[in-house]
């Protein structure tokens, strides 16, 4: 069990105020963290889907040095009846050591958080206790059933390359965004995963400061706004696969090697190699690292 601070961000009417704000938090959440969580949490009409069961997961590093993973869903109609559903966001705030137990995966934390909080949407107190999260089995055999894109391997490599190069991305139209994000993270060295801010099924917003956002679609009129912010759009759901858009030359060898392993279903090799890379690495070191892994695995295969 992993302990984490928690906070709830939603819109309710109380004696002292009305509207979206942090309505409850555990005592370990600092004032500065509350301010940052307020600015970055999804408010009204922020989920991609309007279906009752819609869910969004967002993970990012806080300026305090801790990490926040939020799990958002709908909680009935907005109380002022101006249309739309009330977004209810439950957040887990973890330090580096505890987030690392989840291998810096907001998907893993989000699922654990969803299990921990259950279906609770009412509140009895502003003071919350510390949250207890369950970590999944770290030795479980990694699996992948595909991402629901036009060309999974190519898109995976391009997303990983863009993330390693520090570019901001919106990925639209993936049929399985949870799986795709997990594999993007697994293809990154463990030491680089924590710094990646990501979101699934929440509408892109400049103020949230997310580097990698998975959305259902991006309306045509919103696309210039993305470009103006220096954010690239990968429409992975279209029938047209990725073009010859460049893979960052500084890590092309690394990306192509791991992409090939993914295609060959050598998922355990990917996880075993990237999870061991706990030291800080520069992007230019990655090609050599990948070469070294290949040679080592080749030797192991030959000797056995």
């Amino acid at each position: 069990m992993i302990q984490a601070d928690q906070a709830i961000f939603t819109s309710i009417r109380t004696h002292t105020g009305e509207g979206y704000r942090i309505i409850a938090a555990s005592s370990g959440v600092t004032v500065d963290e509350r301010s940052e969580l307020t600015r970055r949490s999804p408010s009204h009409d922020s989920l991609c889907s309007s279906a009752d069961g819609a869910v969004a997961v967002i993970g990012y590093a806080l300026q305090s040095g801790r990490y926040c993973v939020s799990y958002s869903r709908y909680a009935g109609r907005e109380q002022t009846a101006r249309g739309g559903q009330r977004v209810y966001t439950h957040m887990a705030i973890l330090d580096d050591g505890r987030y690392r137990k989840f291998q810096y995966s907001p998907v893993a934390v989000g699922l654990s958080l969803a299990h921990a909080v259950g279906q609770t949407l009412t509140l009895k107190s502003e003071k919350l206790s510390v949250l207890e999260l369950t970590v999944g089995n770290p030795d479980a055999e990694p699996k992948c059933s595909g991402f629901g894109t036009a060309c999974d391997e190519e898109w995976l490599m391009r997303v990983v390359s863009a993330v390693l190069g520090g570019r901001q991305l919106v990925v639209a139209g993936a049929g399985s965004p949870l799986e795709m994000l997990e594999w993007v993270l697994r293809l990154l060295p463990l030491s680089m995963r924590a710094a990646l801010s990501s979101s699934i099924a929440a509408k892109w917003s400049a103020g949230r400061g997310i580097q990698l956002a998975f959305v259902d679609e991006v309306a045509r009129q919103k696309r210039p706004s993305l470009a103006g912010h220096g954010v690239e759009l990968f429409d992975v759901g279209s029938d047209v696969g990725p073009g010859e858009s460049d893979i960052d030359s500084r890590c092309a060898g690394y990306v192509r090697t791991l992409g090939r392993w993914w295609r060959e279903d050598r998922l355990s090799d990917i996880v075993a190699c990237t999870n061991k890379l706990t030291r800080q690495v520069d992007i230019v070191e990655l090609d050599d690292l990948a070469r070294g892994w290949s040679e080592k695995l080749q030797q192991v295969a030959e000797s056995s």
């Binding site: 509207g19 600015r39 922020s46 009752d52 101006r82 210039p224």
Partner: protein, 355 residues
């Protein structure tokens, strides 16, 4: 100077926060203000005047701004107003079209890049006044509340407040007349925030004109007769703050809705996610052929996890701080049956005369 020459010729400097942005940028990368404002104002070669409309969530800022701009577009009150940029018309179109269908416009979201901004050139025709470039953002009430609680949470707000040539503070007159102290406290906090942002000494008073607008005055029509008296009687904390720290304050009452109907809304009890498991940990049978990815993963992970105690978000203390969710029959939706604008233009007229 808004568009820079020389080595940084590719930058557009934001009007609100001063951040340099790329020439192609649509919104400022720091505060999300539209950069089209900068480009258009550069053509006019005049200093723009920012007018901030502030108020608590659900007080009616969006409706007020929408109707005000629509009145100006129709040359109400001897004003001539020209919208600069199609984006400036979005808010009045949204408000008018919703109200014509007897619904209030959607809630303004907290994300600053989703806010409406309006840039109008305005002048009084009869007086032959010069044109004034007005910039009016429609800010979310919750963002204002968050900024007041913790300054610099939304830097766009702090920048707007410090750069504003005039402020319209909307206060819910209906709630105040019913004895609620919430509007008074919010307004007091807002004025205190403006005071602190100005950073003046104790013996100096703020000269920026502030129009205190009693919104939803149709609930208490008596405030049209004497808005200042109403504020003194029902919003006394605000009144005292204005007297002490602000040199140039005027009080107005306004109303947009002519009559309201009330409808009940069905099926408002909290619905658990249809995608999560039932309490006996068996997967729910779905009508749809395919379950969502989240549903599948949630169900699969539940099978792999150890059984955990039901440690939910409920705390141990019994003190309730939130209203319990209303029962189904209590959920009432107000329906604007028709509009009858009253007192919408006067606060704006006064602000324009002051600036």
């Amino acid at each position: 100077m808004t568009t820079m020459d020389g080595p940084l010729a590719s930058s557009t400097v934001c009007l609100i926060c001063g951040t340099a942005n790329s020439r192609d940028a649509v919104l400022c990368r720091d505060c999300s203000a539209p950069l089209a404002l900068v480009r258009e104002i550069a053509i006019q070669r005049r200093e723009p005047r920012l007018v901030s409309v502030v108020g608590e969530s659900n007080v009616g800022k969006t409706v007020y701004i929408g109707f005000l701009l629509d009145m100006l577009s129709q040359r109400a009150g001897d004003f001539e107003a020209i919208p600069k940029g199609a984006y400036s018309i979005d808010i009045q179109q949204a408000v008018i079209s919703h109200m014509s269908h007897r619904t209030f416009p959607p809630k303004t979201v907290m994300e600053a890049d989703q806010w409406y901004w309006a840039y109008y050139q305005v002048r009084r025709r009869a007086k032959g006044n010069d044109w004034v470039d007005l910039v009016m953002p429609d800010m979310a009430g919750e963002a204002l509340a968050a900024e007041m609680a913790s300054p610099k949470t939304f830097r766009v707000i702090s920048n707007l407040v410090t750069k504003s040539s005039g402020t319209l503070l909307l206060v819910d007159a209906g709630l105040a007349a019913n004895g609620s102290s919430r509007p008074d406290f919010f307004a007091l906090k807002m004025m205190s925030y403006i005071d602190s942002m100005n950073g003046l000494s104790q013996d100096q008073r703020i000269k920026t004109p502030v129009a205190v607008v009693l919104a939803k005055a149709d609930y208490c029509p008596e405030c049209f007769d004497d808005p200042e008296g109403f504020v003194e009687a029902n919003l006394n904390r605000l009144w005292n703050m204005c007297q002490s720290r602000f040199e140039n304050v005027e009080y107005f009452a306004c109303s947009v809705v002519g009559s309201l109907g009330y409808a009940t809304s069905k099926a408002q009890t909290l619905q658990p996610e249809r995608s999560v498991m039932t309490t006996d940990h068996q997967p729910v049978e779905h009508e749809q052929a395919a379950r969502s990815e989240w549903e599948r993963r949630f169900a699969a992970d539940a099978g792999g996890m150890e059984e955990i105690d039901d440690i939910s978000a409920d705390g141990q203390t019994a003190m309730p701080s939130a209203e319990s969710m209303p029962a189904e029959e209590d959920f009432v939706v107000p329906i604007p049956l028709h509009t009858a604008l009253r007192g919408v233009l006067e606060p704006f007229e006064w602000i324009i005369d002051q600036i």
